[in-house]
Symmetry: D2
Subunit: 146 residues, 4 copies
Amino acid sequence: MAEVSPEVRARVQASFDRQGLMTHLGARLTGIEEGTVRITLPARPEVTQQNGYFHAGATSAIADTAGGFAGFTLFPENTSVLTVEYKMNLLAPAIGEYLEAVGTVLKPGRTLTICRLEVFAVRDGQPKLVAAGQQTLICVDARPEQ
Amino acid sequence: MAEVSPEVRARVQASFDRQGLMTHLGARLTGIEEGTVRITLPARPEVTQQNGYFHAGATSAIADTAGGFAGFTLFPENTSVLTVEYKMNLLAPAIGEYLEAVGTVLKPGRTLTICRLEVFAVRDGQPKLVAAGQQTLICVDARPEQ
Amino acid sequence: MAEVSPEVRARVQASFDRQGLMTHLGARLTGIEEGTVRITLPARPEVTQQNGYFHAGATSAIADTAGGFAGFTLFPENTSVLTVEYKMNLLAPAIGEYLEAVGTVLKPGRTLTICRLEVFAVRDGQPKLVAAGQQTLICVDARPEQ
Amino acid sequence: MAEVSPEVRARVQASFDRQGLMTHLGARLTGIEEGTVRITLPARPEVTQQNGYFHAGATSAIADTAGGFAGFTLFPENTSVLTVEYKMNLLAPAIGEYLEAVGTVLKPGRTLTICRLEVFAVRDGQPKLVAAGQQTLICVDARPEQ
């Protein structure tokens, strides 16, 4: 997996930092490579569902974001990324100290990019795949209008 | 659309209230009917993505939850609901005073229930469909083991 | 639902007729309106799965095609339609004299169009919803290169 | 990847042979391992869309079937497999001498099994990933009623 340039890294981190939701959930960007981004979400009562596990909404939010930024690492300058759609299977109860979402570009494209989404729950240091999905992204022009 | 019994209403509200994520996002249960549940999420910086719109993760979280409870209104006592999987298309930027997610049972079943998911962004009182999806739920035994 | 122009109708029918698979399965275009297309598939051993029901692959093939043409009715001249992705829930065994797939545009767009997909199995004249899904289409330039 | 027993192999092949659609399309079972099944579909006019490429419906039909049998290799005796839902991204035009669909179990389960679906188009001996998806299967009792 190739390193990204400092410019791309800064661009991804700045965009992540502007996402109020990620900060509010307590999520952190923990890996930025070409076509692969990782996001970590520590367990806390604020991200649970009714049984105390991670809420599917939280699991999906970090998976969608990881995929979006994975695509974004491959986009040209002055573009932005939007999620067209995604699909997630919740495979097992999401229990652990933290979740790690991994977004990986499966098929890059000029307009559309397809990513694989995986979320692992890490418990006692052991990762377990708890969600898997697929996502379609679109690259849009982000230049300010003149 | 039929009214639910007070027991079902109480069961749904209690389960919603145990979801730390819904409270943390600021979401509220605003409609409980047989096979249809509505959840409202007011706009606030804590639920945004990088452009200040509602984050797809927040949009999806309330859609998934609305669908889950829509199914739950039809489940027998002493059962619980889990999301097997869902798919969401983000149709338009989610901008407005608040979002309303509507989960509707499309096909009830003893084991699996399929729901339609819709999210409207309400701006100046006008609802606009900003996300649409489909969800598979499973009904699981929730009796305490003996 | 608005009628389509004779030009659009001819364009859709001609494209359908070029699809070897539709002819091979025995499918027929049975409705072309603006944003809605219907395809009918009679029961025959050639379209079954192991229990003698309609095969999910046949069900999906006509649903995907109905959605694609539903989008195509709204596309400008000299364009073509490609399926980006779709998701189908198989809701009930597909048993009957014939299937009717209905593709309906949920959200038209210049680049991407989102459709709802429904398949009904008709038995003794009674339609039953046996599959439901959602589809993303892309409009591509179809002018011959010069 | 582990070999399957002769009994499982015979069970999978017999079920495949009962699928009228697979025969009608010209598809063949080309690999049966524990949790992984491969199906090959040679190019012919009967499986094309309007541009002469493999039709998304044909691509999906063999992908869905490969995933279904991949799950089936892990199911106990006297059970049957049904597709609950699947999602496919069509990544590139499906052009080539033949398609190979690979279904792989991602998460086995007593009731639900989740598979990854991949379809490669093989052209001049070179495989290219042209479709990728994810599928949910359910294991149902297949004992004759008494």
